[in-house]
Amino acid sequence: MSKVTHGGFLSSGIRKFGAGAIFLAQLLVQSVPALARPRLIVYQIYNAGARSLIIIMLAGLFVGMVLGLQGYNLLQRFGSEDALGTAAALGLLRELGPVITALLFAGRAGTSLTSEIGLMRATDQLVAMEIMAVDPLRYVAAPRFLGGIVAMPLLSGIFNLVGLYGAQLVGVQFMGVDRGSFWSQMQGAVELRDVTEGVIKSLVFGVTCSLIAVNEGYHAEPTAAGVGLATTRTVVASSVLTLLLDLILTAAFL
């Protein structure tokens, strides 16, 4: 260990990345036996997913309405406001849905996962499990990780639906875009690969954000300050990585 302590920002970053990769491998190994306890995973889908619904739906509605306003404003300059449905759908499905959902997930569900696991560490609950011959990776970490991966695409889908409704509300109800062309143009222009892109993105973000949240909590220093720091790191690392991965994935899909 002493060899790396003198390293700078880069080496500590590489070390963290390596530790994260090892933790991911351990989690994946423990995820197989964890699947035998679907009750735990379902509860975590509820915990990370259902409990994030309100913020996701509210954000979706507002983002959709903004898309409707901005899109209408832009498109009417070229006389093509009928394409508003297409613009909103593509923007939401491919970019805004997965990305904003992941950012909100990191703030709402990720922080609660990190602080919960960190406090379990600080209060000896994880050690107590170890002594009772129950692997906390299998019982605590893996179900939360899997729950987050399942919840993210579902939340992203709901975000998109509510967002489209918001765009429709502004475009069709308030601005007077023709309802028929709003939906038919959207139907004609959106292809399966647009949906796939969004689903793949949200799956990747689900793995990333859940992994970061669980990893930070599991390895948090067992003090009040340590858990607080870990929670902050979860939000920062999840947000930055989500945006970076979005750039890479967008480039890959073009």
């Binding site: 379990m120 209060t123 000896d124 050690v127 107590a128 170890e130 002594i131 009772m132 011959a133 129950v134």
Partner: protein
């Protein structure tokens, strides 16, 4: 001493953290069916010893042998098999906060057996009754006092009928009634069920009433061993200082510091 009479054998264990030695050549033996007290001033590595015995950490050198197996050589599943024969009482209870008292005690049973729900209920209620908390079964750990949480943790530690129980500071901060109760319970489980017990504590008076063997740790080694009576009559200054609870003596009470007078005077100068 027959080897199957030994539950835990610590052989020449060296262990250090960040270059600071905690143990340098620690030797001790925990014998079957006896209550062994591990005593020592704070910071002598009593908790570290428990971590070694439960295989949470590995020694730098030397062996920790539990039930005849060297823990350092065991793969994880084997370590879990050894741990299934142990129970441990944590100082703060370490109850799982997202479950009720009942579910906490049932947790190891559910994880390791396929018992029916009615059998689990019988088992858990019996253990909760033994610690006087059957009525608290549906409370959450947050609703318990510190002493109650420790009693629930004790019920959880004995629910799988372990061969060997570890108590980490079981007497700290208990009211006299709970203290007497826990003391009697430790003794009863030892005499009635033959459970081997390790009690880590610095409550010399309490320990001497129940312990069969005792070890006094000091500066990473065993400073004295024997029955509590033998320790009380020891003429070693370190043992005497600890048993009498004095700050003056060979056992260091003050954390190393520069000269007191000089430091006070230098405050003025700056």
């Amino acid at each position: 001493m027959a080897s199957d009479d030994v539950v835990v054998a610590v052989r020449d264990v060296h262990y250090s953290v960040d270059g600071r030695p905690i143990f340098s050549g620690l030797n001790l033996t925990i014998r079957r069916g006896r209550i062994t007290a591990i005593m020592g001033p704070s910071g002598t590595g009593k908790t570290t010893l428990l971590k070694l015995i439960t295989a949470q950490i590995q020694p730098d050198r030397g062996q920790v042998i539990v039930f005849g197996q060297d823990l350092a050589t065991l793969p994880k599943p084997e370590i879990y098999a050894v741990r299934k024969r142990m129970g441990m009482l944590f100082q703060n209870g370490a109850l799982l906060t997202d479950m009720t008292v009942f579910e906490n005690v049932a947790f190891p049973v559910r994880e390791h057996t396929d018992l029916t729900e009615s059998l689990i209920k019988l088992l858990v209620l019996t253990k909760l009754e033994a610690v006087g908390l059957r009525g608290a079964a549906q409370l959450s750990p947050a609703e318990l006092s510190g002493g109650m949480a420790r009693r629930v943790a004790l019920a959880r530690a004995i629910v799988m009928d372990p061969d060997f129980l570890i108590y980490d500071e079981p007497f700290v901060g208990l009211d006299p009634i709970s203290l007497g109760f826990i003391l009697r319970l430790v003794k009863q489980m030892n005499t009635a069920l033959g459970i081997t017990s390790i009690v880590v504590s610095h409550d010399v008076q309490e320990l001497s009433t129940i312990a069969d063997d005792s070890y006094l740790l000091e500066r990473g080694k065993v400073a004295a061993a024997g029955s509590p009576q033998e320790l009380a009559q020891s003429d070693s200054p370190a043992v005497h200082q600890f048993m009498a609870g004095s700050a003056e003596g060979p056992v260091r009470f003050h954390y190393p510091a520069p000269d007191y007078m000089q430091e006070l005077l230098s405050v003025d100068e700056s």
